[in-house]
C-alpha cells in the first residue's frame, strides 16, 4: 500500500483536476484564435478562455505550494492576470471597432468607415 494521508490525496486530486481543466481551456482558446473567421470572434476566444485557463492553472500551483511566502507572489500574479487580461483585450476591440475593421455575420461581412464613427463620437463628446 502507498502510505499517504487522505489530505494529501485530496490535494493531489484538486491539483491535477485544476491543471487539466486549465490546459483544456488554454487549448480551446488557441484553437479559437486559429480557426475563427473574424477578428472579433478571435478576440472573444482569446479574452475569456485564456484568462480562465491561466487562473485555473495558477490556482492548482497555489494549492501545490501551500501556505508560504512564495504563495503571495502567485496570488499577486493570479489577481493581476485575472483583472488585466480582459481589459487589454477590450482596449484592442475598441481600437479595432473605431478603425473600421470588418465584422463577419451569418448574412455576410458588415463594413463601416472610420470617419462615420469618429463623427458620431465627436457629437457625443460635444453633448457632454
Amino acid at each position: 500500500m502507498i502510505d499517504v494521508s487522505l489530505v494529501d490525496l485530496i490535494k493531489y486530486i484538486v491539483i491535477i483536476c485544476s491543471l487539466i481543466g486549465g490546459s483544456f481551456f488554454i487549448i480551446t482558446g488557441s484553437l479559437g484564435i486559429v480557426r475563427f473567421p473574424d477578428t472579433y470572434s478571435r478576440m472573444h476566444a482569446s479574452g475569456k478562455c485564456d484568462t480562465l485557463g491561466i487562473s485555473l492553472v495558477l490556482f492548482g500551483v497555489i494549492v501545490y505550494q501551500g501556505l508560504d511566502f512564495v504563495t503571495v507572489k502567485l496570488i499577486l500574479i493570479l489577481l493581476f492576470v485575472f483583472f488585466t487580461g480582459p481589459v487589454a483585450v477590450n482596449a484592442i476591440i475598441h481600437a479595432s471597432f473605431y478603425s473600421g475593421n470588418k465584422m463577419w455575420t451569418t448574412e455576410g461581412w458588415v463594413e463601416w468607415s472610420r470617419e462615420e464613427w469618429m463623427k458620431e463620437r465627436a457629437e457625443k463628446e460635444r453633448e457632454r
Binding site: T39, D50, T51, Y64, V81, A88, A91
Partner: protein, 91 residues
C-alpha cells in the same frame, strides 16, 4: 508534498504546443488586430510558462520575472491599441 510528484513537464509541453499554434495567427493574420490579439495571447501564456519552469527547475525567484512579464504584456497591449486608434500615444 510527500511522496506525490505533480508532472509539471507534461503541462509545459502542452503549453508549448498551444504557443506554436498561436504563432500561425501572428504570421498569417489578415489585419494588424489579429496579430495584436495573438501576441497578447502569447504573452499571457508566457507568464504561465515561466511559472511552470520555476517549478520544474525548483527556483522560486523566477516568479518575480513572471509578474514583470504580466505588467509588461498589459502595458504593451494598451499602448499599441491606443496608438493604432488615435495615431498618437501622448497629447
Amino acid at each position: 508534498m510527500s511522496g506525490m510528484d505533480v508532472p509539471f513537464d507534461v503541462f509545459l509541453y502542452i503549453l508549448l504546443i498551444t504557443l506554436s499554434l498561436v504563432i500561425y495567427r501572428v504570421v498569417k493574420g489578415p489585419t494588424v488586430f489579429d496579430r495584436i490579439v495573438a501576441i497578447n495571447a502569447i504573452g499571457t501564456k508566457t507568464i504561465l510558462l515561466i511559472v511552470l519552469i520555476s517549478y520544474v527547475f525548483e527556483r522560486p525567484s523566477f516568479l518575480d520575472i513572471a509578474l514583470l512579464y504580466a505588467i509588461l504584456n498589459f502595458l504593451g497591449s494598451i499602448v499599441i491599441s491606443v496608438y493604432i486608434e488615435r495615431g498618437r500615444v501622448a497629447e
